[in-house]
Chain length 338, copies 2
């Protein structure tokens, strides 16, 4: 197994160090081993030579690697995050990673959130006229193709079925945003027929967020469009107890190629202090191992993580007194006990 590793900015490289320590250990129990190359894409490179995502990067990655592991992007010197947008959206769209899976793990159960990751308001279609003047009109278009909604939903519903889920909720806003909204409803209803074990229902995004905050584990699978998924996954992270816990996988339904990244940002306020929480990136490693078919080490790591997070070496964001290093050490110790 060969990985492309992009530490990125801020705490990105700190949590990636933790992930690589764990991957080195895991490598021993995988016959073919795990190796990786590190890419320096991020704020530094953008500021020195203006390059965010180098030309041809998606092709390079797909031709030579099985998956990507990304730390975090974001730098106070680039307040509009132009480099992060170029890298993240460039990889998502360039590699057709239209399925973004973000599990919301709660004491009462896991909500499996699938966010479409390449179109909608993120399509990059729009513009403005009479910019700056009082007559200015600015437009961002929410664009969906049936073909992408279909591929997204088929993959997500199969994945839910594989996990043994019984219920799936489509989150939309067709009462106010009718064209893409009814496209999603139509594809959802058709695709559901192929999954007789999944009971489907539909909710407006506002009502859904209300119910998610009030009683999240009433939901099982959730499928939604790009921007709604962005908001819902951060609400999910808040309910989990913090962004430090939330992991995500972005997958191409056609090639299976995948990118794994924590939901948290580069946290410039604590970068360099050695106290970044590696939980999310290690949960990304769990998702990565499982995606590549290594279920046994994935399960062992997931169990070790959940044991380690109950000790006092958790990082300060979780109220603990541990450092990134100490928490990683505890995870490795738990792995040894398994």
């Amino acid at each position: 197994m060969k990985l492309a590793v992009i530490p990125g900015d801020g705490i990105g490289s700190e949590v990636i160090d933790s992930a690589l320590r764990v991957l080195r250990r895991t490598s021993r129990v995988i016959d073919s081993g795990i190796s990786w190359d590190v890419f320096d894409w991020g704020a530094e490179r953008w500021l020195t030579d203006g390059v965010g995502l180098p030309d041809g990067a998606p092709h390079l990655l797909r031709a030579n690697y099985d998956a990507v592991l990304l730390g975090a992007l974001g730098d106070p010197r680039i307040p509009d995050m132009a480099h992060g947008r170029e890298i993240l959206l460039g990889l998502r769209q360039g590699l057709d990673l239209c399925v973004n899976y973000r599990p919301v793990v709660l004491p009462g159960g896991t909500v499996h959130l699938y966010r479409e990751n390449t179109q909608g308001l993120y399509a990059g279609v729009g513009g403005a006229i009479r910019r700056g003047g009082i007559a200015e009109v600015a437009i961002d278009e929410c664009v969906y193709t049936r073909e992408t909604v279909e591929r997204f939903l088929r993959y997500s519903l199969s994945d839910l079925q594989r996990r043994g889920s019984r219920r799936v909720t489509l989150v939309h806003k067709s009462n106010a945003v009718p064209n893409t909204g009814s496209l999603w409803q139509d594809v959802f209803r058709r695709e559901l027929r192929e999954f007789p074990d999944l009971a489907g229902n539909e909710q407006y995004v506002d009502a859904f967020c209300y119910h998610l905050v009030r009683n999240p584990t009433q939901f099982d699978g959730v499928v939604t469009s790009n921007l709604f998924g962005d908001v819902v996954s951060d609400i999910g992270a808040a309910l989990m107890g913090g962004l430090g816990l939330a992991a995500s996988a972005s997958i191409s339904p056609d090639t299976g190629f995948a990118l794994f990244e924590p939901v948290h940002g580069s946290a410039p306020d604590i970068a360099g202090l050695g106290i970044a929480n590696p939980y999310a990136v290690l949960m990304c490693v769990v998702l990565l191992l499982r995606h590549c078919g290594f279920d046994i080490p994935a399960d062992a790591l997931e169990q070790s993580l959940s044991d380690a997070v109950r000790t006092e070496v958790t990082t300060p964001d979780l109220g603990g007194i541990g450092t990134t290093d100490q928490f990683t050490g505890e995870v490795l110790r738990q792995l040894d006990l398994k």
Copy 2:
């Protein structure tokens, strides 16, 4: 003072009955009195003669009334809520009610949410090609004019200043939705200069929702676009303890004309049982009285509401054992004590 009252569907007429009982009492302490006419717009009329919002309704309302009080819209026989969309969006756009104010009242303080209410993804601009086929492309456009964003922000910031707020957060998503996002940022930064007592900051909608769930009262004023405001206000209602508590005012910055409505829907599951919570509609009456300059009865009613909600006659949605009638009675009793 002359009101147009639209009970609407489901529990709408039940909570409006409660509001009218309270308005009758309040009428006594207002020299000019308060009178109203009732309009039958809603599902019944839509199903019998196909009319949602009658032609010329916005003009009729503005010419003859000071404000509108609306109960709720929504009926299981009209699953896509076509009538509700026509009435609500027709009134918002037809009366230029671009400022939607939704206070999130929490034990630690109130978050003052202002949602733009007429444009953005609700502009009704968009369409689809090759509908139904695999090559279908569907588009909903998020459209903002600088002129509306300016009028919205000016009104909202003045209103915040009047309330004595010190901080205001712009909620946007300019890193992914750049054209309207940067229009909002530009107008926000310019308008803020006119309000030296208000410290401004900006947050991405995903991060904002995360922080709102984790620690809502860190926020004071919040200004945002239409769809983000829709989602944020439902999260706010969830944090308040239920949709039964959330009130809203939609205001035209140019004419001052306003429409008041609870954030909750028509709740068909409990319609007719007499247990709908009138708290939100009575809070709408508070906002209405204050908007029309009747601060003394507004304060008395607000205080009575907050006293009544601490008794056991609250409705079942709040864990109480009261009916709509009993809770209204308790509010009137509290008013008498003042």
